[in-house]
């Protein structure tokens, strides 16, 4: 494949670049214009909901990809950032009257700050101990939030609805989630291009050699962990407001964190378009399964079985496998 590009090089590249640019342009216009359907025709409420739910998951998967894909450190506890974002927005809104639409970048920064502190503790070791600490983190956070009466404890906290006509109430959430998803994908794209991203890839290949080569591995890992919390925190802030109700049971079960991981691995971790593809397929499949079997134990089984199948047969995910076989459409090759 490398020889092919060497021979047919520049022309192919520009072709691919142009088709990619057109494709991205169409997607941007389509996503921006989609709510107009609701405004002019109505009846698209369900699809708006699905779309903004999808954007949120794209943001989450792309963010998780920074630590789990680029750096190769699998975190099963990223829903803690989701909860930190959600709850900090809820506190700011319920007690200080700051709308989550204004506060959400701050909530992202708060969860990023927590990420830095947690990362400084848990990333001192390599390999399996980190994974263990992420599970413990979820359980610890759940116990703490369950018993923190200021924010309602295990009963949760209710937020007032957004004061808008009901047919338009989803629009601000739609655009905000779209912006968060775009920001998250762009962050992943930039990290990949920075020297920092190169360092992370070195860490995922061989951490000892990376350290010998002069990469400040611990700082890089911690920064990657914190950065991956940024947009997840923002998504959490708006998601809590969108649901108008937050409880630890919504944010802090192992299954929530498992789904973050599954989406990214399904699409292909370590790639830019992988988390997006993974989120789209996973959300569609999840919607189908929930409609078929209900959101109960079978949902857990389906998540587990899907994860097993992907890990056993496509450990590089859809995008990764296609790319290795040279069959990835140019419009999805964003690396």
């Amino acid at each position: 494949m490398s020889t092919d590009t060497a021979i047919a090089g520049p022309a192919d590249q520009t072709d691919a670049n142009r088709s990619r640019r057109i494709f991205l342009g169409i997607i941007i216009v389509a996503t921006l214009a989609f709510p107009l359907l609701q405004v002019f025709f109505g009846g698209f409420s369900y699809w708006l909901h699905m779309a903004l739910f999808l954007y949120m998951n794209i943001a989450i998967a792309s963010s998780w990809n920074i630590i789990g894909g680029f750096a190769g450190y699998i975190s099963l506890g990223h829903n803690v950032f989701f909860a930190i974002g959600g709850y900090s927005a809820a506190i700011l809104f319920a007690y200080f009257g700051v709308s989550p639409f204004i506060a959400f970048p701050l909530c992202g920064l708060i969860s990023m700050g927590f990420g830095f502190i947690i990362g400084m503790m848990t990333l001192r070791t390599r390999g399996p101990t980190f994974i263990i600490s992420t599970i413990a983190l979820v359980l610890l956070a759940k116990i703490l939030l369950d018993n923190w009466d200021y924010i309602g404890g295990s009963n949760g906290i209710s937020l007032p609805l957004l004061d808008m006509p009901v047919e338009y109430v989803k629009l601000p959430f739609y655009y905000a989630m779209l912006a968060i998803a775009a920001g998250s994908v762009f962050l992943g794209y930039s990290v990949r291009r920075w020297k920092f991203g190169l360092g992370l890839r070195a860490i995922s290949q061989d951490e000892t050699k990376a350290e010998v080569a002069g990469i400040p591995t611990r700082f890089y890992k911690t920064l990657a962990f914190a950065l991956s919390g940024l947009f997840i925190g923002m998504a959490g802030a708006l998601w809590g407001y969108y649901l108008t109700y937050l409880s630890p049971a919504i944010f802090l079960t192992i299954l929530v964190g498992a789904k973050f991981v599954l989406m990214t691995i399904l699409g292909g971790r370590g790639t830019i378009s992988g988390p997006i593809v993974g989120a789209i397929i996973f959300i569609s499949a999840n919607e189908f399964f929930v409609a078929q079997f209900g959101a109960t134990e079978l949902n857990i089984v389906a998540t587990g079985v899907l994860l097993l199948l992907v890990l056993m047969f496509f450990p590089e995910g859809i995008v990764g496998t296609l790319k290795r076989n040279g069959k990835l459409p140019a419009i999805l090759d964003w690396d």
Binding site: T122, T125, V301
Partner: protein, 291 residues
Amino acid sequence: MTQAIQILIIGLTLGGVFALMASGLTLIFGVMGIVNLAHAAFMVAAAFISFFAYKGLGLDPIASIVLTMPVMFVVGLVVYRLFFARSIDDPKKRSVLVLVTFAMALVIEGTLGFFFSNIYRSTNPPYAYDAFLMGPFYLPKGQFYATLMSALILGALWAMLRFTRLGYAIRATTHNRTAAEVVGVNVDRVSMFVFGIGMALAGASGSMISFLFSFYPGKHWEWVAILLSLVVLGGMGSLLGALIGALSLSVISAFVNSAYGPTWSPVTFYLALFAILLIRPQGLLGKKPEL
């Protein structure tokens, strides 16, 4: 003072069972380098076997290890063959094996939840509600028998590791996998047996927890985090470390339990985990990582 000794007794007797639970986990990690996140899920599955053996056949939960241990041993061999055998020596695939065990845990949890629903269950043999009285102290019979049984099983495990050829091979593989292979140890076979033994230990632990605690399918996450924290404290892969970690953390959590209530006793384990990571990431008896 009396109260403190009483709490110590409770903590130590629970610690023995925790040591049994953690032994399989640390043994598997030592030989295969895999953190088995499904360990506690298999324990809960075994607890269900004990539960139904008790309800259906009237089999005593402690005696039901004759059922759970062989069954889980065979399950372990099958799981090893299906999921681990081909990936264990490929470093790239090995890094995702921990996610494989995570997925297995989800499947087990969901399947048990689907068939038996997420209600609290426990076997209730008469000794679970009885206690020995010794002067001002009491010793719950259930915990005492469970710890005695755990000590027996752990003793047998130790003797097996110390005196048999298989045990010798297991220790060699734990020490250095490649070198063991070079001197003629069939590392693949050893790994398979170790996974089986680890699962059998999970099976025995399941029988114990079936009457010590009330359990439901989703409860295993709490247990696996507790077990992992004491394994990390002791040093991953070290059996003696797991024993020390189990006894010390279980005593501390018993004190936390009596001072702040049962909600906060699991927090002891999680906070201990973060404290260990800060102070001594390789654990008490763990090998210091290279570099």
